[in-house]
Symmetry: C2
């Protein structure tokens, strides 16, 4: 059987301020309504039955991953949760081990959750060739013909242009990120490909290779045969990438050349590359007015008007609470900026003004002395915890949908254009009883202390402190 | 007697997005808590009794000017309202005519409302010398020693360095904005000064000179002897500046050299000049993180975090609903940008999210399908009009202060942490009965049409449609 293993780690540094520590790249909606994770799932769905799609991600993102997958019917049990990130060898190894325990002949398609791929037909054609390669007991990689001497990717050298066996090349060696000089040499030859990070192999074969080159990791993996074992053994694992730990050493690797457009979206500059440019080389949108600017890219998740005059080669990325203006030659430094924000304990490094919750989301519209205003959206059929607040009262105005409110011992239905008051200290629970319509309420909190930690939870549909 | 005439016109284009068509530069709080107009008033208060301070401004800004002046006790009758802007000759002429009607010997200090002046002692010393010059029946100008070959100001040439008579030079001629080559020649000589736009003269003398050089304007002015005549005659006036219309021709001009730091704040670049720079030549603030940027200036009226990487010589000006990123060599083009916005009917060209009203202000926090959320602040003792809305209901939550609410035929006191509902179509009036504390309420509007023009006013403390 064929399985997909989607690697959904990632710390969300390079796409700040769009990405935040608690909302990394794989959850961003950069192209249409779907997140990058959702694009990855739908990309592989024609090749793999939905019950065979596994996702490996940090446990901090469990509810987010679950919500993202709900549309596609991926079983919740297929979400493998890492207590913390241990790089790709561990993530791939643990998925291989758990799947192999069920299906000894399993073939795994390993896909990072945060790539951009254009041309689905070619993508699936390449995956099918890679499956044939994996059936020959090789580690199959998907290689991208490099169209520029990019120093941000690893390269793969194949054994001569004529060594193509059936649908793939045999690989001579893996190469780490090169210098510009080396990259120039690589792209002049036809023997070099970018390492896409998309792999296909038998679970048994990758585990054999892990056993050979990463024996310590292998011995930990042998103690894990189902998802709930992970947490117990994870601390023993030393992080290493599958490339560095296995692929740079293995002698049984094949490469399928890809004919689809691909990028790993490693920076704002990489994102710019994907979008069409206007006649001045600008990537703009409807909420932008630009005078005499060239080569600029404006990405916005706010509703603010953005105007530029006389700029050249800049990236502007705007969100409700944070703005980045960055020269396009400096996009690699965004991760350093995020480190600075973390050091300075700026909440803009951590979260968006709109915070997602298992039951929906809320946005802080305004904080002032003694009050805070939130717009809260509760998904159909969801409810918040049964809770109380020691130091604040809450006024709720329903602006869309219908709310079912438990207040003290009474239950009330509050309709659109109606309001209800939750006095300080009173137990309450907010629920959206509808099957289809979202519920939107405006919450005005009043009190002297209005932080999220003033919450006592008595009952919760989601396991939370 | 000595009078001040503060010119409070200005269209608010060059400081967009801080300034908007309905909130021009003179009302901006660029330095501390005071607006530029208020700085101008307090600058002249030591020299002129408060009852002698006159302000000429567009009638569109009447309530704004009145509010700004209230702190200082400038009589409301001293606000001279122009139906539309007719440039400085008309504004100065009408003030001279109205003041001379009361006081034939009046000496006027003419001050633009939107300048930056540092060193109050030197400023007042210069004004006093200029008064002596005016007493000699001359038109006294304040000249600034040019420290760089700036092409954005007009220049004044005096009659040789040795012609200084008492406290001032006699002026040879006024020169329009020069080319860079001319400007370089001017600053090498000691005979040239920047025209500060600050003038001192007898009302009678400037009117004589207007009669001589602008006879048509003079004949209109002769029909105006008190403020309420202005509206009737204003349409006959052809706009012209006092410099072009009178000063470039007059043969009775003196110049007092200023020893204070001065700028007319004609652009974002001029504003940058006023602020201290860090070691990288940047003007930043607490809500900014900058990596490797040099020569940049970040001005913010939002609470957003602004991060920059690798920028050079840029101006960033951020507000809640609009952002400008502009190369510092292009700040003159901001006015063209504002024209584009006007053409495109973008509301960001016209108003801020926070709109001022005679009774206080309101900020639109969020607009969504079927609802709008506002934070409303009502000044002590003020009240909104008695009004109703055909298409919306309103929920009010008091978050600070105490509200007196007339709803239908009942009057209610609504305290902090209490709320009240105004059904669609019901007459209501909101008042802050306190003498000192501002009233803040969160308003949640619900309905299908939520624009400002859905308002029927029955009674109003302010003359409004």
């Amino acid at each position: 059987m064929i399985y997909a293993v989607i690697l959904c780690g990632g710390a969300g540094r390079r796409f700040w301020p769009f990405s935040r520590q608690l909302e990394p790249k794989q959850f961003l909606r950069l192209f249409g309504e779907k997140s990058l994770l959702q694009h990855t799932v739908s990309r592989i769905m024609g090749v793999v039955p939905v019950n065979n799609i596994y996702v490996v991600g940090n446990k901090a993102y469990f509810f987010e991953i679950k919500n993202e997958l709900a549309t596609y019917g991926v079983p919740e049990g297929n979400i493998l949760l890492e207590p913390d990130g241990k790089n790709t060898a561990a993530a791939i190894g643990v998925a291989a081990q758990i799947i192999k325990t069920k299906d000894n002949e399993a073939i795994l398609i390993v896909l990072p959750a945060d790539h951009y791929v254009k041309n689905l037909i070619e993508f699936r054609r390449a995956i099918k060739k890679a499956i044939l390669c994996a059936q020959d007991d090789l580690l199959a990689t998907i290689g991208i013909s490099p169209h520029k001497p990019f120093t941000g990717y690893g390269y793969i050298k194949v054994r001569g242009i004529k060594s193509q066996h059936k649908n793939y090349f045999l690989v001579e060696r893996f190469l780490e990120k090169p210098s510009l000089k080396e990259a120039l040499r690589y792209i002049r030859s036809k023997q070099f490909f970018w390492n896409s990070g998309i792999f296909v192999w038998k679970a048994a074969v990758i585990l054999e290779e892990i056993k050979r080159y990463l024996p310590k990791l292998y011995s930990v993996l042998m103690q894990i045969s189902e998802p709930n074992h992970i947490a117990h053994h994870w601390f023993k694992i030393k992080p290493v990438s599958i490339d560095y730990g296995v692929l740079e050493h293995s002698r049984r690797i094949g490469l399928v050349p890809a004919k689809f457009q691909w990028t790993d979206l490693g920076s704002w500059l990489a994102l710019r590359d994907v979008f069409p440019k206007d006649k001045n080389g600008n990537v703009l949108n409807k909420n932008t007015v630009s005078l005499g600017s060239t080569g600029i890219s404006v990405f916005s998740r706010s509703d603010r008007l953005i105007c530029t005059i006389g700029l050249k080669d800049l990236i502007i990325a705007d969100t409700q609470d944070a703005l980045l203006v960055c020269h396009q030659d400096c996009t690699e430094e965004v991760k350093n900026l995020v480190k600075e924000l973390k050091k300075a304990k700026r909440k803009e490094g951590l979260i968006h003004l709109t915070e997602r919750r298992p039951w929906g989301s809320f946005t802080v519209l305004k904080s002032g002395l003694g009050f805070k205003i939130k717009l809260i959206e509760i998904s159909p059929g969801k409810r918040l915890s049964l809770q109380s607040h020691r130091l604040r009262a809450e006024h709720w105005v329903v602006v869309s949908g219908v709310a079912k409110v438990l207040r003290g011992s009474e239950t009330k239905i509050v309709k659109s254009n109606e309001s209800i008051y939750i006095p300080q200290g009173m137990r309450h629970r907010l629920e959206n009883p509808s099957r289809s319509a979202p519920l939107k309420i405006v919450e005005v909190q009043t009190g002297n202390y209005l932080e999220e930690d003033d919450i006592i939870r008595f009952k919760d549909d989601y396991i939370r402190d």
